[in-house]
């Protein structure tokens, strides 16, 4: 395990998370991430062998409902908040 988060680590995580960062932000985040991750390492002290993880506090496994068609939102409502739309569709930036 690497000891130190570098600027290029921050750039990699920002790329994974699709967040553009300024050069100044990269430096600030690198410094803060090191301190926060140091604090997170506290959990290393605990022996968790044979302890199962708790993803969820409820003992739910699968929750099913009947496969029935409900009343959908009207198209106008669905498109109401779209920054760009055209002919009843969301308008996306160029993908390829």
């Amino acid at each position: 395990m690497k000891k130190h988060i570098t600027i290029s680590d921050v750039e990699h995580v920002a790329w994974l998370a699709h967040i553009e960062l300024t050069e100044e932000e990269k430096e600030v985040f690198a410094e803060q991430f090191n301190r926060i991750l140091d604090f997170f390492k506290k959990i290393d002290e605990v022996d968790t062998s044979n302890v199962p993880p708790t993803y969820h506090v409820l003992d739910l496994v699968n929750v099913f409902r009947k496969d029935e068609v409900g009343e959908p939102l009207p198209k106008d409502s669905v498109l109401m908040n779209a920054p760009k739309k055209e002919d009843g569709f969301f308008k996306s930036p160029r993908i390829i």
Partner: protein, 488 residues
């Protein structure tokens, strides 16, 4: 006619309005007049809905005069945290990303309070996407603490707590992911309850960390808190984590007789970092509960030491996944840029749309979930969660409630901690265990240090909100803290 109708409790106001002792319109006008007088100092609201509020009050008055039945919250002004979707009313999450977002549907809790004739007076300020403990990370500027305008009101539901203690609303809804209802309740001297995970539907709550959060009531009396909880609680098929169990009758809980109530005091709740003044006020309340017949015993829950780190790893991991949906395509902030491709525009929307705390949590969560670190951080944190839960289960077999302070310090200055994220995270040390375990918890006013409020936290067994309300009622009935109001 008293011009201070805004001071009435919800239970009293509903009774007076139903019996036509006062009109809904006079009551709502008193609230509106109060807002116009104090909101400039507090900044509790992001959006107000005054015009519709008056129309609704008039409709309710007409219904009553025609002899029609009205709901249990008839015309009560409710302040709703701005991460709960309200049909036709802008819902921003205090973020530039959602600055202009108008939900096309109501959250389940909103449907339920509307069914009882409540009036949504406005949407309250909060930390951006509920990520914070001070309401300072809002895109719309900080909310100020009504008890001392230089202090933070707590967060992330800071606007909701500040609005009701200032008389700008009678009841409020908040959400609590790691203490976001209880912290501002403590800092503003109101009652704030985080229900058992699964008791209240999260449908229409804009997700931050969905395995941890619950919508909860904030109120100025225990009866009002119970009233709102009994209306928003209960099974909802639209939320697959909603639990199908009959709702308890909370109103049976109200008595001064606490004989038989067994309280556990985890020494970790009174440990290093908790200020002496805070401990002193909480102990006074414990002695009072003892005078009323409760017994207490000091215990130790060693796993609490690891709860905060585990909580932040899980919350950030879930946040990184939940907030991936903000692409600026179907809704949300979108840059004007025609020549760039999808990935560039997506990343730029998120740079401009999100504030720095949101970016920090998304990125740290992404890191904790990424290849090579998943087991070390995320999976390990989930195992710690199991250990904390086992500790709580065991302790609450023996005790009816665990008690300690809600916050380790009294409210601090605006700007004091915001530059240092880790210091700020430490504020949540006493509140996060209830979210990790899913157990219900309440913050109850228990004293003032100078003019600054102190809150007591009680945690009980799953679906035993009744015990929390019982403790709250006993403290309310035997002290004057919850009756005090800030000079504004």
């Amino acid at each position: 006619m008293s011009s201070r109708l805004f001071e009435l409790s919800a239970a009293d106001a509903v009774e007076k309005i139903k019996s036509q002792e006062i009109t809904a319109e006079d009551y709502i006008n008193s609230i509106i007049e109060r807002i116009s007088r104090v909101e400039g100092k507090i900044n509790a609201f992001i959006t107000l809905d005054i015009k519709r509020a008056v129309e609704r009050a008039r409709e309710i008055d007409k219904k009553i005069s025609r002899g029609e039945v009205v709901g249990r919250l008839a015309s009560i002004a409710i302040a709703v945290k701005d991460n709960i979707c309200t049909l036709g009313i802008r819902t921003t999450c205090a973020s530039r990303m959602l600055e202009n977002f108008i939900p096309p549907y109501d959250a389940t809790v909103i449907e339920r309070i509307k069914r009882e004739d409540a009036i949504i007076i406005g949407k309250t300020n909060m930390d951006e996407f509920a990520m914070g403990s001070t309401t300072e990370t809002s895109y719309f500027g900080p909310t100020r603490n009504p008890w001392d305008l230089s202090k933070v009101p707590g967060g992330s539901s800071g606007g909701s707590a500040a609005a009701i203690i200032s008389g700008e609303a009678t009841l409020a809804l908040g959400s609590d992911t790691g203490g976001s209802v209880r912290c501002p309740a403590s800092y503003c001297s109101v009652i704030g309850l985080k229900p058992t995970y699964g008791l209240v539907s999260r449908y229409g709550l804009i997700a931050y960390a969905n395995s941890l959060e619950q919508i909860g009531p904030l109120a100025k009396s225990t009866i009002d808190c119970a009233l709102l909880l009994s209306i928003i609680g209960g099974y909802d098929p639209k939320d697959s984590t909603s639990v199908n169990t009959p709702l308890n009758n909370y109103f049976n809980a109200f008595t001064d007789d606490l004989r038989g109530l067994k309280i556990g005091l985890p020494k970790e709740f009174f440990g290093e970092g908790v200020e002496d003044a805070v401990k002193r006020h909480v102990w006074s309340a414990i002695y009072l509960l003892e005078d009323l017949g409760a017994t207490y015993e000091e215990i130790s829950l060693p796993s609490l030491e690891y709860a905060l780190a585990a909580y932040y790893i899980i919350a950030m991991s879930e946040a990184s996944s939940n907030l991936a949906r903000y692409d600026g395509l179907r809704y949300g902030y979108r840059v004007e840029c025609n020549d760039a491709d999808w990935a560039k525009i997506y990343a730029r929307n998120r740079r401009i749309g999100f504030g720095s705390e949101v970016k920090r949590r998304i990125m740290l969560g992404t890191y904790a979930l990424s290849a090579g670190y998943y087991e070390q951080y995320y999976l390990k944190a989930l195992k710690i969660r199991t250990i904390v839960r086992r500790d709580f289960e065991l302790a609450l077999k023996k005790f009816d409630a665990l008690i300690g302070p809600t916050m380790p310090t009294p409210p601090f200055n605006i700007g004091e901690k915001i530059q240092d994220p880790l210091t700020l995270y430490m504020c949540d040390i006493l509140t996060v265990p209830a979210n990790l375990t899913g157990y219900p918890a309440i913050s109850i006013p228990c004293g003032f240090e100078g003019k600054l409020p102190i809150g007591l936290q009680a945690i009980s067994k799953p679906f035993d909100e009744g015990t929390l309300l019982k403790i709250s009622f006993a403290l309310e009935n035997n002290t004057d803290f919850i009756k005090r109001r800030p000079a504004l």
